[in-house]
Point group: C2
Chain length 140, copies 2
Amino acid sequence: MITKNCVLTNQEIEDLLVKNGVPATLQRIAICKYVVCEANHPTAEQVFDWAKNNLQKISQATVYNTLGTLTEVGLIRAFRFPHSDKVVYDCNTQDHFHFFDEKTGQLVDVDSSSVKLNIDLPQNYKVHGFDLVFKGEIKN
Amino acid sequence: MITKNCVLTNQEIEDLLVKNGVPATLQRIAICKYVVCEANHPTAEQVFDWAKNNLQKISQATVYNTLGTLTEVGLIRAFRFPHSDKVVYDCNTQDHFHFFDEKTGQLVDVDSSSVKLNIDLPQNYKVHGFDLVFKGEIKN
DNA sequence: TTAAAGTTTAGAGTTATTCTAACTATAGAA
DNA sequence: TTCTATAGTTAGAATAACTCTAAACTTTAA
Ligand SMILES: [Mn+2]
Ligand SMILES: [Mn+2]
Ligand SMILES: [Zn+2]
Ligand SMILES: [Zn+2]
């Protein structure tokens, strides 16, 4: 139900990038490792903050470029949610939904298998997919 | 299933505003009438464009202020969708969902009665509500 | 009639993101 | 080993969607 991040070596991250046609650079390896293995639905700002503390030098443009590239090749996904105007990046590339804890601001993944949707739309509405975000609170 | 806009006189709009504690001004009556009776999920930009063409003088700030006020008192609702970074305003204040036509960019309302959702979340997840947007295409 | 209160306005400010153009690193070619 | 083309990174400027500010109107109500 709740998905967790993987643990990958730098070499494995490098291979992942190259396999997806993205030449591996120091910056890309670091950012990719962070979003794929460590972060939970980070914003570009959070990735940039992390990168500033973990690389000797990094520019905002590189963070945005890299997140864009990783999204393009499908290594991560980008989501825009109703409660914020910042894009969040997600290492979970499966179809899935989200639960937004209104108290903490935390986003957690909800597997699509835990949701069943019955829709009654006109015949001529062809549904290609849907975005679903729960809002609420996680107790305890 | 698909909701339509109402037809109201200026007087009725004025009453609606006053009843909701919003003193009626020329600008507010015009903007309120447009979003409540004419427009379909307009953005602030669209409301501003309409207002420029239909009032002798209007400022962007007034459009944003008025849309904010109307939203606060519950005469309209504000939505932020995954496909755009612009807020859209909605005269449909019932709980409902949306269908986004990926070809035309059009948004149409989907009554909540046409959707049945079965969720299987952990006990400690208290769901207060959810946002649901269908993406697809309306044929014909 | 007049002053307080509320409303509108132009323009400045903010935030998230994208663009630009210069700099840097690197992989072959020579 | 150079050289050089290509790709990647960078700082800072630009953009887009709002939001804020402070001055100018307008209305309200003594
Ligand atoms: Mn509507
Ligand atoms: Mn923005
Ligand atoms: Zn997710
Ligand atoms: Zn709607």
